[in-house]
């Protein structure tokens, strides 16, 4: 401008005024273009950056919705509407007003009963095998340009297997619980597994054990005496409310406890890992310690036991030796509605009562291997059920199965396999229909298990019956027994895997008052299982 003024003054004319204007306009044009370019690039970059920020925030919100729904399902708190929501204010208390009430995520759950079934919105039901959680998350800082609004919301979808609660019975109880006198003989092995001690508990009656029996856990007679003969050993303690008699070479891993006032007899060839606690006196025929006594010498015998068996300490005539608790008998009746409420399907069996080589292809028999959801098969329409050795029955367990049996059962030569490594529970239950706290044996025949019955991991079995169970001939099973009486003979091997019965606690006598007619205990809820897929989906 100064130059212009000077030139004007020098020229004292007005013909050159346009030159200055052109210079100014030119400068303005150049700077304006530069400004526009810079502004445009900056706005575009900010828009894309805000797009990225919104995408990260909305993705995190969506994933937190999945996590929140999972936590609710694990806590058995699936929302009744099948939908969980959260606002921005719930995750950022500093927000207020509209910003606080804006949605953070919306998570919904659906379920289906098989991989080919359609998804049904809502919480899992009894037959559910898979659940799907879909969650939409929203960015707290939305994109600042129109083009950046595309990632303000993101959605993810996660699919999990569903573990029904029906599989979660109280896993307690002994390996063998026999209410009455059992039979333990002839190459029997009861083995502990996975930290569960294979115990034999007899409620009422003496335990007489002979011929190569090994119980890896405890042998307990709650109301009777115990007599172990001929290499009948226990890995745990031997505990009787009465007396204990140990004859022949054997090993007792734990204590020998005799709460009865009678004479406890201990073979000097016995190896005792714990102590000996006897309420009465002890008789042993090893070399007595010298006490100076000339007649019956209880002290000398006790000293002999300590010297020959390795037991430490050895007490006798102790009034404070306690008897084992007498466990209550748990009456397990079969009430279909209770099983249905726990996610089981109840199927009434109308096929042949004797399954042999002629009837093994009956549709209802073949159906045993086709069930894919936990199924209770009520076979009580038969007065007796026989799985004949001629059938050579082979069952493929694709889910948990429970056979509700009559009071006469004969299982021969059958094999159960699982197509997967998932744990499966197989239950044979003869219901006890009278809630009296004792086995109701009216109409009882036998529950025979004979001739090469194989049942290997991951399958475990429980046999429940108020009647007598007889095992013989090469039994190889995993599981537990709870019966009026249980006898083993001829090469039986049982690995203790407790699976219990849904709604009952066999180890602690739980299951309602007496249990019959109602399923006791609290239903165990189902939970999400393995993750199958986790993907982004359109919001």
């Amino acid at each position: 401008m100064l130059l212009t003024k000077l030139l004007r003054r020098a020229a004292k004319g007005s013909n050159d005024r346009g030159n200055a204007m052109i210079a100014v306009i030119g400068l303005l044009a150049v700077t304006s273009m530069i400004t526009l370019t810079v502004t445009g690039a900056t706005v575009q970059a900010l828009g894309y950056t805000s797009l990225s920020r919104a995408g990260v925030q909305s993705n995190a919100a969506a994933e937190s919705g999945v996590d929140a729904m999972l936590a609710a399902l694990f806590a058995d708190a699936c929302p009744a509407t099948g939908q969980l929501t959260a606002t921005q204010g719930s995750v950022n208390p500093a927000l207020a007003g509209t910003a606080a009430t804006a949605p953070f995520y919306v998570a919904t759950v659906s379920q289906r009963i098989s991989t080919s079934a359609a998804w049904t919105p809502g919480c899992a039901v009894g037959a559910t095998t898979q659940i799907r959680i879909q969650s939409t998350g929203f960015a707290s800082d939305e994109g600042v340009a129109d083009s950046a609004s595309g990632r303000d919301a993101s959605a993810v979808q996660a699919v999990y297997t569903w573990r029904p609660g029906a599989n979660s019975a109280a896993v307690t109880g002994a390996a063998v619980f026999s209410y009455g006198t059992p039979g333990l003989a002839n190459s029997l092995e009861l083995l502990s597994f996975n930290g569960n001690s294979a115990n034999v508990i007899v409620r009422t009656g003496n335990i007489v054990c002979s011929n190569s029996v090994y119980v890896q856990g405890d042998i307990i007679a709650a109301n009777g005496n115990i007599s172990l003969d001929n290499t009948c050993s226990a890995g745990g303690k031997v505990w009787a409310s009465g007396t204990v008699s140990l004859q022949g070479n054997k090993t007792i891993g734990g204590d020998v406890i005799a709460a009865g006032t009678g004479l406890t007899r201990i073979d000097p060839s016995t190896d005792i890992g714990g102590g000996v606690f006897a309420r009465g006196e002890i008789d042993s025929w090893g070399q007595r310690c010298s006490t100076g006594a000339t007649g019956w010498d209880a002290a000398g015998d006790a000293c002999s036991v300590a010297r020959t068996t390795g037991a430490d300490p050895v007490f006798y005539n102790r009034a404070d030796v306690a008897a084992p608790a007498e466990p209550a008998w748990v009456d397990v009746n079969f009430v279909p509605a209770d099983w249905v409420s726990r996610g089981w399907t109840v199927s009434t069996y109308t096929g042949p009562c004797t399954i042999d080589n002629r009837t093994r292809n009956n549709a209802q028999v073949l159906a045993f291997s086709t069930y894919t959801t936990p199924t209770a098969i009520d076979m009580r329409g038969c007065s007796s059920v026989i799985f004949s050795s001629s059938a050579n029955l082979n069952i493929t367990m694709r889910t948990d199965l429970t056979f509700i049996m009559p009071r006469n059962v004969n299982l021969e030569n059958f094999t159960v396999v699982s197509p997967t490594s998932v744990d499966r529970g197989l239950r044979f239950i003869t219901p006890d229909t009278v809630a009296d706290g004792v086995p109701t044996t009216t109409g009882c025949g036998r529950f025979d298990i004979n001739n090469r019955n194989d049942l290997e991991a991951p399958i475990a079995v429980i046999v429940y019956t108020p009647c007598a169970v007889f095992n013989s001939n090469q039994l190889t099973w995993r599981g537990q027994y709870y019966a009026g009486s249980v006898s083993f003979a001829n090469n039986s091997q049982l690995t203790y895997v407790p699976i219990g019965i849904p709604g009952f606690d066999l180890g602690n006598g739980a299951g309602g008052p007496g249990g019959a007619g109602a399923v006791g205990g609290t239903p165990t809820p189902g939970t999400p299982g393995d993750l199958i897929s986790y993907v982004d989906v359109p919001a």
């Binding site: 100064l2 130059l3 000077l6 030139l7 020098a10 004319g13 400068l27 150049v30 700077t31 530069i34 400004t35 370019t37 810079v38 690039a41 900056t42 575009q44 970059a45 894309y48 950056t49 990225s52 995408g55 993705n59 994933e63 393995d530 993750l531 199958i532 897929s533 986790y534 993907v535 982004d536």
Partner: protein, 193 residues
């Protein structure tokens, strides 16, 4: 007849011209500086915004794909700088193979998707079936001065991405991020590496 010169036709004296030219030069210098510096700033802003956007685009594409992956593999070419990342992903629908290749020769990140396994290309000779995601990509260095690979495996399911986008004069935008696949591990139908 000699025409008397009109006053309006009188020219500038030499002194006037010298003064005016000096003043004009000063003004031109000032205006020129303003324009040059504005152009420089404009170029800088354009480079920064462009490289930032390019880098974010690369990272967004990789993150979305790896987040939805079921298996991942990272290998390094013989030159020690070019890295190849392949994933099996379900992003966007059906399972497929997706791969990225940082070519240290071309200083670019390429991507390729296929329904079958993708093999690592040769640095400097990337096939035309590969799409270029960004040019001007250079590796970064850590605090100790060691060069970081553009793609590096992280755990068994994740990948770390580290690179800078080069401007005309220097690397101007740095990107370091990591992402992990969420779905259960699987590398079949298709097997991607």
């Amino acid at each position: 007849m000699n025409a008397r010169p009109k006053r309006d036709d009188a020219g500038f004296s030499l002194v006037e011209l010298l003064i005016s030219m000096t003043l004009f030069s000063v003004v031109l210098t000032i205006v020129g500086s303003v324009i040059v510096s504005a152009l420089t700033a404009e170029r800088t802003v354009r480079e920064v915004t462009g490289s930032t956007t390019n880098g974010q685009l690369v990272v967004n594409v990789i993150e979305e794909t790896v987040r939805n992956s079921t298996a991942i593999s990272v290998t390094t070419a013989a030159d020690g700088l070019s890295t190849f990342a392949a994933v099996r992903t379900t992003a966007g629908g059906a399972a497929r193979c997706h791969a990225w290749f940082y070519d240290s020769t071309a200083q670019a990140i390429f991507e390729h998707t296929s329904v079958s396994a993708i093999t690592r290309p040769t640095p400097g000779a990337v096939d035309t079936e590969w799409t270029i995601l960004s040019n001007g990509v250079v590796p970064t260095t850590n605090a100790g001065g060691a060069t970081l690979p553009v793609f590096a495996i992280r755990g068994t399911r994740g990948m770390t991405v580290s690179f800078a986008i080069d401007g005309e004069s220097r690397p101007i935008s740095l990107f370091i991020t990591s992402v992990t696949g969420r779905a259960p591990i699987a590398n079949a139908s298709p097997q991607c590496f």
